[in-house]
């Protein structure tokens, strides 16, 4: 799977230049996060004021200058602007908090703040998982297939276990507290939020967050709080014991996050991903509608006081100078946290619009990046940009997985960032420097058909682990689909423009062949990690799409609507609308060669793949394709010390257990709809449970669910 067959490697920068760059980064003006208040308009959209900006510089990339990761020499042609916040390289004072919790924990979207999705529980093992049975199930009643007045629901919530309760949020923006052993309802809360697709094209929810006071006051409510965000940007705080609103939080228990939406306020800052709760901080990003507008709300991240909702600091990935004419570069997925190092790691998405960058020709170094912030201040400590001048919607879409690894006998506090491109970037999480070399390599430029666009001459390519997808060549055609389509796939392949990975969008012909594409690679379920065996587990999809840009007038004639995964995208305000299509034949069969989805285990001491196998089965109209073809997946794994990987994620709406050791499928069950989040693994009254929310996602197929299903070993055993 060499990537060098179509791009040649660029030699690392000389050490001296690297040291100079590092020194500059360290000496740069302190990061510009604000210690502000919740007053609306105190600072515009959370964007740091000019006095808080670092010094302007040209062509300066943040912390991309590790010894083996030279700063890209080129990138967009126009002069660069200062980053929104210059990395300081200054680590906060360390605290003796272990990366892996010392007791079983599943109280966040990814189970633990480190993003490992790991449970040390061992009651369920690879040997006995085959006898797993349904302990209980619960139907929230909150699902819509879109046939009535409500938009389709997309439920990607990971249930969280805390306070001896299992909490779930629903796509109708309710919270339900359940007995973890029986599924009996303890309480429920209805936000009565508007059920309209104000930003995303479906009613979406990824669950709730939980906070508890380290020094609770007896008799006082809200010493333990559950948080729920809504599509219309309201953040609710509920007493975890009673479900009643916390009166001290915001206005009577609600913070209107949209009060800070004052730049390009085209849509509300939808709070679909639960906040990240760490120490005395509630850190939240938001989701938007980045396919719709060129000028959109700039990507801001807010830290709030968990008890009052007052804003502590904010972060913006876009430099103030460009924020008004672009937007997003937001954090719409989970974050991870190393409380010991005092850093929160943000997976930052691409600026708007998704597929044309003529309005943002300057360098925007924090966009499409992993950015580490000081938890207490919001200062940027380091940042690595994974896609320069992103015009492919390659948002960094999952929380990086934090892991301590031993490479060449040396212990490294590392971070692995999985991506849509199928790359796994592994860096030292203290500094952002490479663990294995990450090389800047030349990539294709444009074909001259897109006005105003500029192209990054190079992009970062990791040398290890090997890319999960073979991007070195155009994927082959699946002969079955081609035959059924009477050569349709061959004709499509011939018509599409392809110059290798990072072929940019075009106006010519049928458009540009994109592989990997924005729906493939690793999605927001992220990578799991077994700290005992130093093994990463990741599921990923092979998807081919094609993109075409249309000048505005032409676009208006063609487009009749928009979505967020495929179809026509207006990119209003840009000179081009665009279309994004999956490469399918007339029957809806993928034109590209299977497998369509896989799961892999990676030895993090060597970066080598231990095993990989197709995951799940594709399903259309009820018909299952052979499991050897695999399935596109959305959602991620949970890994246990019992040697088991639990995962739903596949089209066929099955939840499965695989052997951590060799990837063998050990168990499966049918659930109501694809389980598109991560499972939760918890222990309650001495019994180990595995919980899945089977909610479905229209990206996979039109199947929705409201089922929370929980499995355990039979009690007699």
């Amino acid at each position: 799977m060499s990537l060098r067959s179509h791009v040649s490697a660029v030699r690392p920068a000389p050490l001296a230049a690297t040291l100079v760059a590092l020194t500059m980064a360290v000496l740069a003006h302190p990061a510009a996060a604000q210690n502000d208040t919740s007053k609306p308009g105190a600072t515009s959209g959370g964007i740091p004021g000019a006095e808080q900006q670092g010094p302007s510089s040209t062509n300066q990339q943040p912390a991309q200058s590790g010894p083996t990761a030279p700063a890209p020499s080129g990138s967009p042609a126009a002069p660069g602007l200062a980053g929104a916040q210059q990395p300081t390289g200054r680590l906060p004072e360390q605290r003796p908090i272990p990366l892996v919790p010392d007791r079983p924990t599943w109280n966040t979207f990814h189970g633990q703040l480190n993003g490992q999705k790991y449970s040390p529980l061992t009651q369920i093992t690879a040997e006995n998982v085959g006898s797993l049975t349904k302990a209980w199930e619960f139907h929230t009643g909150d699902a819509s297939d879109g046939s009535g007045n409500l938009p389709t629901s997309v439920w990607s919530a990971t249930p969280i276990f805390a306070n001896d309760t299992l909490y779930v949020g629903t796509p109708f923006y309710r919270v339900i507290a359940l007995d973890p052993g029986t599924g009996a309802v303890k309480w429920s809360f209805d936000s009565k939020s508007t059920l309209k697709a104000l930003t995303q094209p479906a009613l979406k929810n990824r669950g709730v967050a939980y906070w508890e006071s380290r020094s609770p006051i007896a008799g006082e409510p809200c010493q333990k709080i559950v948080y729920l965000g809504t599509m219309d940007a309201q953040l609710f705080a509920l007493d975890a014991d009673t479900g009643k609103l916390c009166p001290r939080f915001g206005k009577s228990g609600v913070v209107d996050v949209n009060q800070w939406n004052d730049v390009n306020n085209k849509y509300p800052l939808s709070l679909l991903q639960p906040p990240t709760v760490t120490g005395n901080h509630l850190i939240l990003g938001w989701a938007g509608k980045d396919w719709a507008y060129a000028e959109a709300p700039p990507g801001t991240v807010f830290s709030l006081d968990p008890q009052t909702g007052e804003r502590q600091w904010s972060f913006a990935a876009l430099p103030q100078e460009v924020a008004a004419r672009t937007g997003t570069a937001n954090v719409w997925t989970a974050m991870s946290v190393d409380e010991g190092l005092g850093l929160v790691y943000l997976p930052v998405s691409s600026p708007s619009p998704n597929y044309w960058g003529g309005n943002r020709t300057e360098k925007i170094p924090l966009a499409t990046s992993t950015t580490a912030l000081n938890l207490e201040t919001g200062e940027v400590v380091w940042s690595r940009q994974w896609v320069h001048h992103d015009i492919w919607d390659y948002d960094i879409n999952s929380a990086p997985t934090l892991m301590d690894i031993t490479v060449g006998g040396k212990q490294i506090p590392a971070l692995m960032q999985a991506t849509k491109m199928g790359f796994l970037f592994v860096v030292d999480r203290r500094t952002g420097q490479d663990v294995w070399p990450i090389e800047e390599r030349p990539v294709p430029g444009g074909d001259g058909s897109v006005q105003g666009e500029v192209y990054a001459p190079t992009q970062p390519f990791p040398t290890k682990p090997a890319p999960l997808l073979d991007q070195s060549k155009k994927p082959g055609i699946w002969s079955v689909a081609n035959m059924v389509g009477f050569g349709e796939c061959t004709r499509l392949w011939d018509k599409l423009w392809y110059k290798g990975m990072y072929t940019p969008p075009t106006h010519r012909g049928e458009g540009a062949f994109t592989y990997p594409d924005s729906a493939g690679g690793v999605q927001w379920g992220g990578a799991g990690y077994d700290p005992k065996g130093q093994t990463a587990i990741v599921n990923f999809s092979h998807v081919v799409q094609y993109i075409k840009l249309y000048p505005r007038q032409e676009y208006e004639k063609l487009a009749s609507g928009s979505g967020n995964e495929q179809g026509y995208y207006p990119q209003e305000g840009a000179p081009y609308g665009m279309s994004l299509q999956n490469a399918l034949n007339w029957l809806g069969m993928p034109c590209w060669e299977p497998p369509f989805g896989e799961i892999a285990a990676i030895d993090m001491t060597t970066g080598d793949i231990k095993w990989r196998r197709p995951i799940g089965a594709s399903q259309k109209w009820g018909f299952y394709m052979p499991e050897s073809l695999g399935s596109v997946t959305i959602g991620g794994p949970a890994v246990t010390a019992g040697g088991v990987i639990f995962i739903g994620a596949s089209m066929d709406a099955k939840v499965r257990a695989y052997s951590l050791a060799d990837g063998r499928e050990l168990w499966s069950d049918i659930v109501q709809a694809p389980a598109v989040s991560n499972p939760a693994v918890y222990e309650y009254k001495g019994r180990e449970y595995v919980a899945f929310a089977a909610g479905g996602n229209t990206i996979l197929k039109d199947q929705v669910g409201d089922q929370l299903v929980v499995y355990a070993l039979p009690t007699s055993k």
Binding site: G622, F623, D652, A653, I670, V671, Q672
Partner: protein, 134 residues
Amino acid sequence: MWFGPVGAAHVEAELTAISRRPLGPLVIMIAGAAGVLLSAYAYLTPLTGITGAPGALLVIGSSVALVVDGLILRTATRGAVFWLFWLLGVLGAIGTLSAGYFLHAWWLMAAILIVLVGLGLTLTTRRRTVGDVA
């Protein structure tokens, strides 16, 4: 009397009755009906993997068609109509069997295998009956 002209006619009538009510079509109808029930169960019951799926509707329809096919084979005399519906039955059963495989509807597949057995029996029964009459 039993062996006179009337008796001969009676025997012929009995043999004709056998040819009209052979075992094969009965098997087809019963197994096809089982296919309808199993498909309908899979379509209507939650968590079968194909609940509400168009593919499940398809096999409900094709199983109904097999029942009808058995009914026609039961009443059809030898000739083009018989062979047409026998062939359609085979194609329908193979199609339903294939659909059952891709739907992971294993019990449906078992029922349709019995339909195929019924189709085979239909030929066997008719050959013997027709031969006796001839």
